[in-house]
Structures are given as structure tokens and as C-alpha cells.
Amino acid sequence: MANKLDFLKQFDQLTALFPVQGNARAVIHNGLDFPTTRDEYWKYTRVTSLVESEYVRNVPNIDSIDAFRVPGLDAQYLVFVNGEYSKKFSDTEHIEGVEVTSMRLAEGERKQQMLQHLDQYIDSETQAFHALNTSYFLDGSFITVEKNTSLSKPICILNICAGKRQANNIRNLIVVGEMAKAEFISLHEGHENEGSFTNAVTELKVEQGGDASLYLIQNDGPESAHINAIQVVQEKDSQSKVVTITRTGKLVRNNLNFTVAGQGCESNMYGVYFTSDKQHVDNHTYVDHLVPNCNSNELYKGVMSDRSTGVFNGKIMVHRDAQQTNAFQSNQNILLSERATINTKPELEIYADDVKCSHGCTIGQLDEEAMFYLQTRGLGKAAAAKLLVQAFSGDVTAQITNDALRDMVEGFLHQKFEDQDA
């Protein structure tokens, strides 16, 4: 299937639910093409196979989601299987100050409220995967947190990609109201999903003085692909934090964008990718500082083994008006194998003259001296490596304030090194 229109044809029979979907279909059927490695921001990530494949569409029956839950996590779950809302598995209890709605089921005023925000923040005009998502998503989560509400437990959007050769366009729209505070987990899990493809878009708006944390956990399975876009829009005096944890996924590409449109904002982005086999994980981040007096912090860490490849491209744009910006960015990598590769490019573009910005990257191996030291105390090579890697990734995992979620993420590391010591 060498033709874009042939590829799109397999989705065209899906009903468009909202006007924005019709618009996006027009865009993607016409001038907008999928990126190739000739595009600078896709240089190291080849997606051709994803947009030339034939997919099937079905929603397998799942008996239980227990295996996909975060162990010990107290959260309100919103569950989707292959992009379709699962009422059976979702928690529907009402929490004061929060509304959690399936987009498809939104009606009346709620629907009007949603349409005010939907597709207003993400760029579906020039980004083909965003347009693909907007064109064909079947459902999605629409979450609003009212003004002055502070959520006592996180909302977990669990997306299960189940079955072979599925193409799922996952959509989330989250609005955190003025002075409200909330945590969200976007958890992606998989089940026998060889050859499947998840294309997810999250729009997160944080209104004046709000505070939002979003944890993206990518554990789709070793034989599936995931393209993810998160667009954060921040109003005056708001805070946001996005933590991206990538565990499984044959091909993973993350696009994380922050538009900082009001003064006094803080934007934090953290990430860890633990890669193995022939995995390819690409993190592209972009922070757009439009106004003065804002801070952004970025720290991404990679632990890469086997023949896996990684890409990090972080761009911080400080516009001429964005004086007094503090922007820090760092990407650090440990390669555990001689055949693992990382392409890393921290980028700063500054047009203001009174700012504090830094960026940097490191690529290294495990410290041999530290390894020997730990071994002379009786730790096997794998156990010693595990301790060192844990320490390395610790300043990112420490950003996960929820204990159950952090335990799960640290467990990913333990499992990576498990059974390697005799």
C-alpha cells in the first residue's frame, strides 16, 4: 500500500462524530502528508511501515482489567479498549468538582463545553498524525476539573490495545480550571497486539493558577507501535508537569508540546525510557515561551540495552517578549550494550536578551569503577548494574509523587535485570 489515500480509505467508513473530524479528514486527504526521514524532525524515526499497513478493526472481549491496573493504585479509572469506552470497567462514581465523560456520550451543554476546547490546542493542520487522530477517533475522554477543586486521587485513563493489527486513535481532552489541582495517568497497556498501532493525542489546558500533572506510561507491548502527542496549554500562574515513562513498544514516538501563554508559569517535563531488543523510542519535546517570567525544567533519562535505538530532541523557544525566562534542559543516557544507539539533540532558540537557559546531554556506560566496587561487596553484575541504573533514573522517578505508580515504574527496572544473576 504505497498510497496515502489507500491507507486512509480503510478508515473512511468510520462515522465522524464532530465537525472537527470532518475538517481534519479534508486536510489529510489533501495536501498534508505523513512525515518521512527527509523531514528534519523525523530524521531518525521511520514511520512509513505504519502508514502503509492494512489494519483490522475489532474489540475483543476482555474479562478483567486487573492485569492492566497499577498495583495498589487508588484512582478513578476510565477505561477504553481499542479506543472504545468501556462502561463496564470504568469507575462511574461522582467526585465533587470533577466531570469525566466519554466524548461520544457527551450531550447538551456538556457537549457544547467540549466542542469549545476540542482540537483547539493541538495542531491538526500541519501535523499528519494529529490530523489522522482527529479524523478518526471513535471516542475519547473529556475531563474537566472545576475551579478551586483539588483532587484527592488521580484519574487514570487506561487504554488497552488488544488484538493484532489494530489501529487505535486515542483522544483525551483535559481542562483543569482556575486554581484547581489534579493528577492524571495516561496508562497504555497491550494484549496480544502484534502489529498494532496506537496514535494518541492529549490536549491539556491548565487555566489560571491551576496545577496539573500528567503521567504517560507506555507499556503497549513489544510488538506494537505508539505515536503520542501531548499538547499542554498554560494560562497565567499555572503549573504543569508531564512525566513520560516508556517501557515497551517496538516503535515509540512522543511529541510533547508546551505553549506557555501566561506569565508566572512553571512547566516541568521528565522522562525515562528503558529500551531493549530492537526497540526504537523517540522523544521530541517543544516548549514555546511566549511571555515573560516563566520557568521550564526538563530532564529525560535513557537506559538502553541490546540493539535498541533512541532519539531525544528537545527544543526550547524563547520569544523576544519572553524576558526573565528560566529554562533548563538535560538529556542523559546510559548505554548498556555496545550496539545500542542514541541520537540526542538539545536545542535552544532564544530571541530575548535577559534569560537564563541551559541545555546539555550526556551519553555513557555504567561506571566500571562503581561496578567493581559493588561486586567486591558480593553483588553480582546484574544486581550491581541494577543499583546503578536505579540511582541514575532515580531523580526522574522521584518526580512521580504517587507511591503506587512510582513503585510500578521502579518495578519495570527490577524486571529488566531480573534473573540475570546466577
Binding site: A370, R377, G378, L388, D395
Partner: protein
């Protein structure tokens, strides 16, 4: 003849340079051996080779520890069998907690001996007791391994780890270097308390001063990759008085 530690004709080279040129050494349970020598004589190489550092090409007629072929074991296996190296330059490992790492080390050894994990309670009791032994502040025990420790604190931490791991053979590689007299006394005192009829120590040192506090049963002089003279503690005093040149001249005259 005991089979505690037996080293015969141990040779080691790195990048084509032969550093150890045939070391013979026998250590029995309960003994303290001091290995002294001028800079560049091969002292640290000897401790590294015994502990299992991989950088060297090693050959020997025999190196056995408790009856087992030492050179065939990985560093962690040597440790689990009861060998401990106190580093001359202890490594700082940011982010790895001293306590967690020690617990993992103790459990690795216990598993090797067919024992279950140490209980949290037993472990904490042990930590308290051994900390007191080397007067290590509790705050240090809870910090990242050696991170931000002073030179003296690092050396005390080495002895603390040794006390926790209860080795049969402790090799102290220039543990006295960089220590002021108070720290030296604390470290020596710790070692003296750990001494028993079943375990032994090899003290590697440039100076005699440590031997004022830990009295050796045997003193060996290492020069140019070989042990050129052995004696009792009086040899150390003689060296202190006459300097290494005295032995070097004697050796080179032969």
C-alpha cells in the same frame, strides 16, 4: 599446612607491563600480615588482583582461598566466599543508599551460604552495633555511598562495610593514607575489634605508622613486584628507621 590463603608465584601484568613478578604468600587464620613497600612496587596491584579486578593479565602456580581456586572466581564470588577489599580510593556512588546496598550485599552472601534474607530487625541491630565500632555517624550510613564523605569518613565507611560483611580475609589497601591521627586510631581500633582466631588481615601500607595501632604478625617488603624480605613486626620499625633504600640496596647488590 593450612589452606586459608596460599599464593605461589603470582604474576600480573597490565598492557604488557609486568607489575607482579612472582609473589609467594601464605596467610593462616588469625594472622595479620603487613605488606610494605615503596611507591610503584606493586602493592595496590596485589590487592586488586586478589579482589578480582579484571584489568590485569594474571598467572600463578597457585592461588587458593579456603581451598578454592581464587583466580577462577568473579569478584562477587570472592566476596561471598569471605574476601573483602577496603579500597584505597573508595568510590562515590550517587543515588545508591549505603544502607540498601549493604543489605543487598549481605543478602547476596547469605544466599550463597544457603541462608534466607536477613530480617529487617536483625539488620538494623547489626548496623547500629557496627556503626558504633567505627564511630560512623548514622547520617552517613543513610546517605549515598561515599557521596560527599570526607577522606576519613570514606575510610571509616570501608571498615564499617567490612564489619557488616564479616569477611574471613580483609585486605586493607593503604587504608591509612590521608588519615589524621584520630581517624587512624578509630580505623585501627575497628580492625582490632574485628580480629579473631578465624579471620585474617592483610594490611597494605607505605608507612609504619598504622602498625603502631594494628600489630602485625608478619611484615613483608614488596619491591619491584616481588616480596624481597619478610620478618616480624621489628622489620617495620627497621624500615621506618632506615628507609626503603636500605632494602633496595641489599636486593640490588645480590
Amino acid at each position: 599446612m593450612s589452606d586459608f590463603l596460599r599464593v605461589k608465584n603470582l604474576r600480573a601484568s597490565i598492557e604488557g607491563n609486568q607489575i607482579l613478578k612472582g609473589i609467594d604468600l601464605e596467610v593462616n587464620p588469625g594472622e595479620v600480615h603487613a605488606i610494605m613497600g615503596p611507591n610503584g612496587s606493586g602493592k595496590s596491584t596485589l590487592s586488586s588482583v586478589l579482589a578480582g579486578r579484571e584489568d590485569y593479565e594474571v598467572e600463578a602456580d597457585e592461588v587458593t582461598f579456603l581451598g578454592k581456586e581464587l583466580l577462577e572466581m568473579a569478584p562477587e564470588e570472592r566476596a561471598r566466599e569471605g574476601l573483602f577489599l577496603a579500597f584505597q580510593y573508595p568510590v562515590e556512588i550517587p543515588g545508591v543508599s549505603n544502607i540498601n546496598f549493604l543489605k543487598a550485599a549481605i543478602n547476596a552472601k547469605r544466599h550463597h551460604q544457603g541462608l534466607a534474607d536477613i530480617t529487617a530487625k536483625d539488620f538494623m541491630v547489626m548496623v547500629k552495633e557496627k556503626q558504633a565500632l567505627v564511630e560512623l555517624k548514622q547520617s552517613l550510613a543513610n546517605r549515598s555511598v561515599n557521596e560527599g564523605f570526607s577522606g576519613g569518613e570514606k575510610k571509616r565507611n570501608e571498615i564499617f562495610q567490612m564489619a557488616m560483611l564479616e569477611p574471613r580475609l580483609g585486605i586493607l589497601d593503604e587504608t591509612d593514607s590521608g588519615l589524621d591521627i584520630d581517624a587512624l586510631k578509630i580505623v585501627a581500633n575497628g580492625v582490632n575489634k574485628l580480629k579473631s582466631k578465624d579471620n585474617s588481615f592483610i594490611l597494605i601500607t607505605h608507612y609504619q605508622r598504622l602498625l603502631n595501632y594494628i600489630v602485625p604478625d608478619f611484615v613483608h617488603v614488596l619491591y619491584n613486584g616481588k616480596i624481597v624480605k619478610s620478618g616480624d613486626k621489628s622489620l617495620a620499625l627497621e624500615l621506618e628507621e632506615k628507609g626503603y633504600d636500605w632494602i633496595i640496596n641489599e636486593v640490588e647488590a645480590v
